[in-house]
Structure formats: structure tokens, C-alpha cells
Amino acid sequence: MKKIEAIIREERLKAVKEALEEKSYFGMTVSEVSGRGKQKGISLQWRVGEYRVDLLPKLKIELVVLDEDVTAAIDAIVRNARTGETGDGKIFVLPVETVVRVRTGDRNEAAI
């Protein structure tokens, strides 16, 4: 089992979510995050002049999949989150030790 953490542009969520659902990866957790990478930041305007914001709003999608599904899930995310500009985000894949479904107490594969 692997956990996929994908940091993506806010406006790409709908496409990514639909692509994952098409491949029957339905469950996910989405949170609003701030971060920075090569994109560095953006300028915003005050009453006069500008100020620089170097932590930009992004969305983080977390989902846990079986080892054999990792490539397909990553592929769906990358294809739908990419614009080609800096700031498209990153994907991290982590090993998962245990999964528990709270309602039933099911463990691991049965709980995904």
C-alpha cells in the first residue's frame, strides 16, 4: 500500500478528481495548503504599489492505493494537473504500514 500526496493547482482539482474517479480511485482527502517551489511567488497590489507573496495557495490531494495501482494513479494526476508552467506542483509517494476502516475495523487491503 502506498500513499500518494499530490500538490496541485487549485483550478486543476476538478479534472484530477474526475480522472481518478474514472479509474475507480474514489476515496481521497483534499486540503487547502500554502507552499512554494520554483514558481517563487506572485505580486499582489495594495492601495498603491505592490507586495510580494511567496507562499501560494495550492491543493493537496491524499489517497492510499495498492502498490500495483500507483503508476496508474500518478499518471492520471500528472496528465490532468499539468499546464507546463512553473507552479504545477509535486507528487510524493510514501509507504503505508496499516490502514483501518473506522466503521468496520477492517484492516489494510480490505480497508482501502
Partner: protein
């Protein structure tokens, strides 16, 4: 004179309109600060409704509008609203109850104190601000209101025109704000850190309430409900429109048309038309408003961006500069055709009115700056003007008020 019901209804309504400007200002300012200081910023304005609202009826009104002493200050004859009743005053607003005139004036004192707080948000100690506000009302606002509006006040006697408070309210608060900032110093991290407004829609809501309330402020200052009030009303709206539009274009020339800039422009236009509203034609509002935005915009650029003076919410650039321009504009655009109790300005062939207005600007501005400096210093060496480093970093909402604007995870 007897009470006129139409006039009385309008003055009571105007008092309520001006009252609403203070919570409006609280939101206008509150939206512009960082999230951790939202409540404390709102509180600095709202607390004035409690504090100044009391002081005004106890002694503020009397010392501003009581029997003149040397053109400098009013007397004790209205202390605790003594002799202020349901009959009109013998001197002010002869067609409305004296109480109605008094409460209309109360709302002006309240918002004037609230105005300068915008300069010192995010680092001033709340108790210090309260103490300073009591001193400032007593030593600065009360005499200046008497000079300009009090019967026998020396600026009034000289013929300085201030229809609704360009000098008493805006120059007074704006210049004092600057003096206070110079004493207090910058916020930690200014200007290198981004200090992002937490909620611009709140700023818009606040600006909307200010614009709405300003009809009471300016048109109410006719102290009657007839033609003059209508003229002031239209001049007010026209100036706000011209200034909002002008600021929008200025920010667009810089990059993009900002919401924050457009609503700021509206407020600056309202400031500038305040002293002129009942002395100029409604159409003069276009020039007064548009020029106000240009002056304020570049003033802000120079003071804050180039010089790094942390007048946090630009009180001097908006109210000080806007008020000074408005006072001078009154000396340029005023016409006896609009108000026979006023004067002709420069455009109508009278140069002396502009000089009188300049005298008003210099004396009110100079006095406000010097007195604020002394009072601020006094508070600083006794209770201290600034919060400690940790209190400032954590935010004033928690450190000064033990509250936070938005709840956490518990639902």
C-alpha cells in the same frame, strides 16, 4: 425660535447615519490588517462609541460648544447636558432641539477619534490608546471644534469655512495620526514582510457603510432638511464617485484596477468634499473628488512606499491630505450662490477666502501635530504606547483581548 419637525427628523436621522460610520470604519480598517489583528483593529474604533460617547455628554459638548472663552474654548455651562434640552439652542441650529444638535456633534467626536487609530493598528497597546484618546479628545478635539464651529471660536470669527469637518475631523485626525506613528514606530517586519489584508470584502462593506453614513455627515451639516442639505448631498455623492473612479484608473495605469484602491478612492473623495459640501455647487464635487484621489494616491506612494513611514492604514494620506485639499478646495470653489452664509472662492474672484482656508489648515494641522506629539510622549513614558515583542508577534486579538476573530476546529 421654534422646533421644525422636518429639520428635527433629518438631524436625528443624520445622527444615526453618522453613528453607523464608526462600525463601518471598524470593518473598513479591520479588513485591511492581518488576521491576527482583525478584532483588535475593530475594537479600536468600536470602543470609541463607548468611551467618547460618554465623555461627550459629560464635558466634551460643553467645552466645545459652551459659552466662548477668548475664542479658544467653550465654557462649563453645558456640563452634563445642563441647559441642553428639548428647545433649540439660542446659538446653534435654531430649528431643532438643542439635544438633537448635541447628539449630532457627539457622533463627529466619536468617529474622529476612531479615525486616527488606523495609523497605529497591529502594535499599539490598547490601554495606552484609550488613555491617549481621552487626552486627545480633551486637549485637541474639543478646542479645535470650538475654534471652527463654536460660537466665538477664533477661526469661525475669521471666516474660515468648514461645512462638515474637513479641519475639525479629517485634518485633525490625519495629522495626529502621523505624529503618533512617528512616536510609535513601524510594525515589526514593515516594510520587508508582506502584510496581506485578511478580508477585502470587509473593507468594501465598511466603505459602503461610510459612504452611506456620510450623507448624514455632510447633508446633515446643513442643520436643516431643505435645499442646502440636498445640494450638499449631491455634491457628496458626486465627489465620492469621481474619486472612486479616479483611483480605479490610477491603479489600472499601475497594473490592474483594484477593489481596495477603488473603495479607498471613494473614502478619499468623501473626505475632500466634507468641508466644501454645503458651499460649492454639486458639480464642483467632480473636480474636488478626482483631484483628491490623485493627491492621496501619490502622497501614499511617497510617504509609505518611498519613505517607509508605517502609517499602517494610510490615515494621513487619506484624511490628512484629503482634508487639506478639501479645505483649500473650499477656498477655490465656494460660491455665495449655493450658500449665502458661506463666501465666494477663488474661482468667483475672491482670493482672501483661500488664504483664510490656508490659515485654517496650518493652525489646525500645526496644533494637532504638536499637541499629539506631547500627549503621545506622555502616554509613552508612563504606560508605554507599544505592546511587547511577543504580544505583537502573536497578534493583538489574543494578547490584548483574549479573543480570536474566527473559531478553530471545534464545531
Amino acid at each position: 425660535m421654534s422646533v421644525n419637525n422636518g429639520d428635527t427628523a433629518w438631524i436625528l436621522m443624520s445622527s444615526a447615519l453618522v453613528m453607523l460610520m464608526t462600525p463601518g470604519l471598524a470593518l473598513f480598517y479591520g479588513g485591511m490588517v492581518r488576521r491576527k489583528n482583525l478584532l483588535s483593529t475593530i475594537m479600536m474604533s468600536f470602543a470609541c462609541l463607548g468611551l467618547i460617547g460618554l465623555l461627550w455628554v459629560i464635558y466634551g459638548y460643553s467645552l466645545s460648544f459652551g459659552t466662548d472663552h477668548g475664542g479658544i474654548i467653550g465654557g462649563f455651562n453645558f456640563l452634563g447636558l445642563m441647559n441642553v434640552g428639548q428647545e433649540p439652542s439660542s446659538v446653534y441650529a435654531s430649528t431643532v432641539p438643542h439635544l438633537a444638535f448635541m447628539i449630532f456633534q457627539a457622533m463627529f467626536a466619536i468617529i474622529t477619534v476612531a479615525l486616527f487609530t488606523g495609523a497605529v493598528v497591529e502594535r499599539v497597546k490598547f490601554i495606552a490608546l484609550l488613555i491617549f484618546s481621552v487626552l486627545w479628545l480633551t486637549v485637541v478635539y474639543v478646542p479645535v471644534a470650538h475654534w471652527v464651529w463654536g460660537s466665538g471660536g477664533w477661526l469661525a470669527e475669521l471666516g474660515v469655512l468648514d461645512f462638515a469637518g474637513g479641519a475639525v475631523v479629517h485634518i485633525n485626525a490625519g495629522v495626529s495620526a502621523l505624529a503618533l506613528v512617528l512616536l510609535l514606530g513601524k510594525r515589526r517586519g514593515f516594510p520587508q514582510d508582506a502584510m496581506e489584508p485578511n478580508n477585502i470584502p470587509l473593507v468594501v462593506l465598511g466603505a459602503g457603510l461610510l459612504w452611506f453614513g456620510w450623507f448624514g455627515f455632510n447633508a446633515g451639516s446643513a442643520l436643516s432638511s431643505g435645499g442646502l442639505a440636498s445640494s450638499a448631498f449631491v455634491a457628496t455623492n458626486t465627489a465620492a464617485a469621481a474619486a472612486a473612479f479616479t483611483w480605479m484608473i490610477l491603479s489600472w495605469i499601475h497594473k490592474r484596477p483594484t477593489v481596495l484602491g477603488t473603495v479607498t478612492g471613494a473614502v478619499v473623495g468623501l473626505v475632500a468634499i466634507t468641508p466644501a459640501a454645503g458651499f460649492v455647487t454639486p458639480l464642483a464635487g467632480i473636480a474636488i473628488g478626482a483631484i483628491a484621489s490623485v493627491i492621496s494616491y501619490y502622497g501614499m506612494l511617497l510617504l509609505k512606499i518611498k519613505r517607509g513611514v508605517d502609517d499602517s492604514l494610510d490615515v494621513f494620506a487619506c484624511h490628512g491630505l484629503g482634508g487639506i485639499w478639501g479645505a483649500l478646495a473650499t477656498g477655490i470653489f465656494a460660491t455665495l450662490a449655493v450658500n449665502s452664509a458661506g463666501a465666494d472662492g477663488l474661482l468667483y474672484g475672491n482670493t482672501t477666502q483661500l488664504l483664510k482656508q490656508l490659515l485654517g489648515v496650518v493652525s489646525v494641522g500645526g496644533f494637532a501635530f504638536a499637541a499629539t506629539w506631547v500627549l503621545g510622549k506622555l502616554v509613552d513614558v508612563t504606560v508605554g504606547l507599544r505592546v511587547g515583542q511577543t504580544e505583537e508577534t502573536v497578534g493583538l486579538d489574543l494578547s490584548q483581548h483574549g479573543e480570536r476573530a474566527y473559531g478553530g476546529l471545534l464545531r
